[in-house]
């Protein structure tokens, strides 16, 4: 563990102040499941941890008609454990339920998953298809950043010095909408995704009125696969349209070969997972 200091922020403003004064080597400490390990292994230069878990707004969760707001410090188990979320935002519940194991989920957050900006981050494809928007506080006040624009590359995001995510907002989804998320890992838990995917479908009868498809671990950042969505939108959902979406996903994937998966495997899995999530999302949309 590199030498560092720990500070606890009691309010959003105090957190912003601490982060600004700490400069680029100050880091938000949310669940700590990424950042503590990174500091221990000296993978990032960190001199200050700013613990945001004693800020009420950051720890709260609210379901309103316009949508769902999840504080950036809310641990995953509270997210997937919420019956409303499981019902209305299935992809979010599915992805948060398998990040790490039970003990990791007691601490880890979606804010941390997003800010950490791993290409394989499991919640990010769900955030993409759910249209999630991060509320960011900083020295110049607040701004909203759509999840799709948040990460800029592996381990890097749009946040400026002094900024942090206060909460993440998930707009209410239209009627007859279903979402689903899935990943492939070699074991049944405790693995980093070889590939992950999420889908959102809004249906009118058997016709798809809107579709969103996201794909992870196959590019430097999570992909929002417009072409796959286009293969579905405005058409009846058929085996052929699903297959076309899967092909579009495979084509969009530009993965690398590493110890966790090969290019061939990841491209192939892109198609498989997109197909599977579309089918499950459709089932939910019809229900």
């Amino acid at each position: 563990m590199q030498a560092l200091k720990y500070a606890r922020a009691a309010s959003v403003d105090e957190a912003v102040k601490m982060l600004r004064e700490g400069g680029p080597t100050a880091r938000v400490l949310a669940g700590g499941t990424d950042v503590i390990v990174q500091a221990r292994e000296r993978r990032r230069q960190i001199e200050l941890f700013v613990d945001i878990k004693h800020i009420d707004e950051v720890m709260s969760m609210r379901m309103e008609p316009r949508g769902l707001t999840i504080g950036a410090g809310v641990p995953l188990y509270k997210i997937y454990g919420d019956a409303q979320i499981a019902r209305h935002y299935a992809a979010l519940a599915e992805s948060t339920r398998v990040i790490g194991g039970t003990a990791i989920q007691g601490r880890a957050t979606i804010g941390g998953n997003l800010a950490n900006a791993s290409p394989a981050a499991d919640s990010i494809p769900a955030l993409f298809v759910l249209g999630a928007v991060a509320t960011v506080a900083g020295p110049n006040g607040r701004r909203e950043v759509p999840a799709t624009q948040f990460c800029t590359g592996p381990g890097v995001n749009v946040l400026l010095t002094g900024e942090f995510i206060v909460s993440i907002f998930f707009p209410a989804l239209p009627a007859h909408t279903g979402t689903a998320w899935e990943r492939f890992i070699p074991r049944n838990e405790m693995d980093i995704a070889v590939t992950n995917a999420a889908a959102m479908l809004t249906m009118n009868g058997e016709t798809v009125t809107e579709a969103r498809i996201a794909l992870g671990a196959v590019a430097p950042r999570t992909l929002y696969v417009e072409a796959a969505a286009a293969a579905l939108a405005g058409k009846p959902l058929t085996d052929a349209s699903i297959a076309a979406a899967a092909v579009a996903a495979r084509d969009a994937a530009t993965p690398i070969d590493d110890m966790r998966g090969s290019i061939k495997q990841r491209k192939h899995l892109s198609g498989v997972l997109v197909e599977r999530t579309i089918r499950r999302a459709a089932e939910r949309a019809r229900a």
């Binding site: 563990m1 720990y6 700590g32 503590i36 990791i104």
Partner: protein
């Protein structure tokens, strides 16, 4: 929490129901603080990066990996470790079940499994085998192949239901 000179801090917290004050390095994880500063060595270091569960403890009623918590974070919190699972009257049913089902071989993973199992049964008193395996997937055991551990978990659930 008082910051002293250098990197040392005084931490006030509650461990296994006892208020305690101790001196830690700001770099200490909760696991390091428990083991090397406080002397509670029941939680083990198997990996130091969240992947084995040997360091499992309860933090404010929630199962966590103490290697992935900073010691400074437990200021004002409540921590329960394996040392706090048995009562003065005797073993917790989970501990008894692990003994009776021979759910340990070397025993290094056992404290973590017992803390994690107790957390499971507190939340889901009647888990299925599948639920138990899923809940415990973050706890590695290399000796048993999990068979007897899962049997112990299910048997403890039965005992506790009575």
């Amino acid at each position: 929490m008082t910051t002293t000179s250098s990197n040392r801090i005084v931490i006030n917290t509650t461990i296994n129901g006892e208020p305690i004050e101790f001196l830690a390095d700001m770099r200490d994880s909760l696991l390091e603080a428990l083991r090397e500063r406080i002397g509670l060595r029941g939680a083990k270091e198997g990996c130091n990066n969240g992947n084995c569960g040997a360091c499992s403890v309860m933090l404010n009623g929630r199962l966590v990996n103490s290697c992935c918590v900073m010691a400074a974070e437990i200021e004002g919190a409540e921590v329960t470790t394996i040392e706090g699972v048995a009562s003065a009257e005797g073993l917790h049913p989970v501990q008894q079940a692990f003994l009776e089902e021979a759910a340990l071989q070397c025993g290094i993973c056992t404290p973590g499994f017992i803390v994690a199992t107790k957390a499971l049964l507190d939340e889901h008193p009647h888990p299925t085998e599948e639920e138990a395996r899923f809940w415990l997937a973050g706890n590695l055991c290399r000796c048993t192949g999990y068979d007897k551990i899962i049997r112990a978990v299910l048997s403890a659930a039965d005992t506790m239901a009575k």
